[in-house]
């Protein structure tokens, strides 16, 4: 099932399907290993529109909510 990274539940694993955004966002996410086809696990999402924390390639990465909402994943 495809959904946005923000909709994923903490603890769920998923694969990145696509990243919607300009080249700047693509480049920044890619530099931290977030590319299409990459497996990730959502660790937590902070309340009231706070950032989403995911584990990708055994590293924790915090992603601002707005940016997380541009990442489509399949789980």
């Amino acid at each position: 099932m495809e959904k946005l990274l923000t909709e994923l539940k903490p603890g769920e694993k998923a694969t990145v399907v696509s990243i919607h955004g300009g080249r700047g966002i693509q480049v920044r996410l890619r530099s931290l290993g977030l590319v299409e086809g990459q497996m990730l696990r959502k660790l937590s999402a902070l309340a009231w529109g706070g950032p989403v924390v995911v584990e990708v390639k055994r590293t924790q990465v915090a992603i601002g909510r707005g940016m997380a909402a541009r990442i489509l994943v399949r789980c």
Binding site: G24, V27, R28, L29, R30, S31, L32, G33, V35, L43, S44, A45, L46, A47, W48, G49, G50, P51, V53, K57, R58, T59, Q60, V61, A62, I63, G64, R65, G66, M67
Partner: protein, 635 residues
Amino acid sequence: MRDMGTEQRIRNAPQKPRKHLENDILLVGQPNVGKSVLFSHLTGVRTIASNYPGTTVSYAMGRMRGKGSTLVVVDAPGTYSLEPLDEAARVTVDLIDDAKRIINVVDSTHLERHLPMTLELIAQNKPMVVALNMSDEARHRGIRIDVEQLSAELGVPVLSIVAPSGEGVKQLVDTCLDLQPIDQSTRNESGHPGHHPHIQHPSPTGRNNSFAEHVHLNRDRIWKRVGELVEKVQTLEHHHHSFSERLEEISIHPFWGSLLALAVITVSFSLIRLIGEFLIAGAVGIIGEPWVELPFGTELLFDKVLHPPLIALSRAIGAESFLHKLLIGTLVDGRIDFMQSFGILSSGIFIPIGVVLPYLLSFYFVLALLEDSGYLPRLAVFLDNFMHRIGLHGYAIIPTLLGLGCNVPGIMATRILESRRQRFITATLISIAVPCAALQAMIIGLVGRRGIGPVLIVYGTLFVVWLLVSLVLRLTVRGFQPELLVEIPPYRLPTFRALGTKMWLRISGFIREALPIILGAIVAVNVLYQLNLFAYLSGVAEPVITRLWGMPSEAVVPLLVGILRKDVALGLLAPLDLTVKQLIIGSVLLAMFFPCIATFVVLFRELGLKDGLKSLGIMLLAVFLTGSVLNLILR
């Protein structure tokens, strides 16, 4: 290798016209891999290393002895790729161009994240060694890397090191120096001695810019190649969750993490105050009566040791002479009041050593603990939501916290933020509403004499100003507001070595740079008083200072001296016989009005002339309003 003729020149990020910097060895790697630690080891130059991405925002240069000659070593700021996304990364790309040899520092615990840049670097055709740092931590986490095979696959030497202990560093240097420089004129045609079949070389005409484009197109191939490499050389062993990993889970939990953030902030600020108070007065206690009182502290030291000889000197000179005023200052009830007398030998020594230094020690100790443990990026995550509402994102908390120590490194650290808009807002806020540790020490020392309430009003007002100015800036400053995107490092136990080095660098910086300015400011004040120049200034400033802000017109002197040093300026409020209300207003105004000269210079250097002037305009408006409002609402 260490303690050779060392030299440190921390340079600024080159602005538009770029400077060339010839260097023999360039340390390149992603943020937070330990480049600065390795650099210190190689050169003996001490640099500030911490546990969060973005510690080094400009580059450091040092020298080391090797192969019978002196070699220039440069520590580049961390960058995730050769496509520069921020100021720090742009600096690195330029440095690579001028480098003779590269040491690519890689985090062994996250090989797959670091190898893409290694491949990009290899394609640059510079003699290069890969240093697998944190190999002890990798072992601990059950990660095994076949170093020889990795080296064979990459076609460049690969070595395991542990930078903090120096393990493997000597071999690394030997290997690096054995590399043959590649003839620059033929580098595009001949290629690198090694083989890296999955990366195409740039076309013979290609320069580095077009190379970046080129790499961009080949991203998928790079990731694919990295996947294959990691598969071949790395094995993971299952291991049990360690305590620090449990703590990492708790730290990002929406509920427990918030509690932890709150606790960390509260404990940090209390600890700073407790240690500071203890060093000054030998007393420990948060509010009201102290729990412990010991015959210890700088106050006692000055009263017992420095007071008697100074009084003798005072008698010898005679209380009426100008020399007495300059050296000892004004006597209060026949005694020297180290806070109020304002001579070079009395307040001139007491303010920096007796009041400010203890707080700096305390502040930088606690800050170093936060920096080295790896907590700061986690704090940034929790504050992200709040910071978004004021036009910033969570990572802006790091420059702001540094600004609480000294505004200068705080403003420099705004370089870790991505957009010009964020840098402008954060730097402006720091210069207006973030009091440095020296000023805070004086606020606590002087305003604190009138009780904890007035101190809290001063801090509360500054916080409200910070909030209001940021809201106004958010609405008025146009530009792009990036989202938080940050790697959260694992928790690490701070080492005494790193802690000590960092504190020494910061404290010695204060003694070297601030002490002469403090003494100079005190001389200037005494001379100007003697020349009666202040009487004229008081008359000119009277309408604003007295009518609007309710301060005595002599307060113009501290406000002007604040341009040199904030701590001395606040000290000048002491002899004015102010009411509590005036003292509060005076402290707030001093914190906000004109950044001290060092901050001023850095502000303009970082923002440029136009934005620097804008920032000053906002400051003047904010000071004007805050002073007036406080005068209206306080009684």
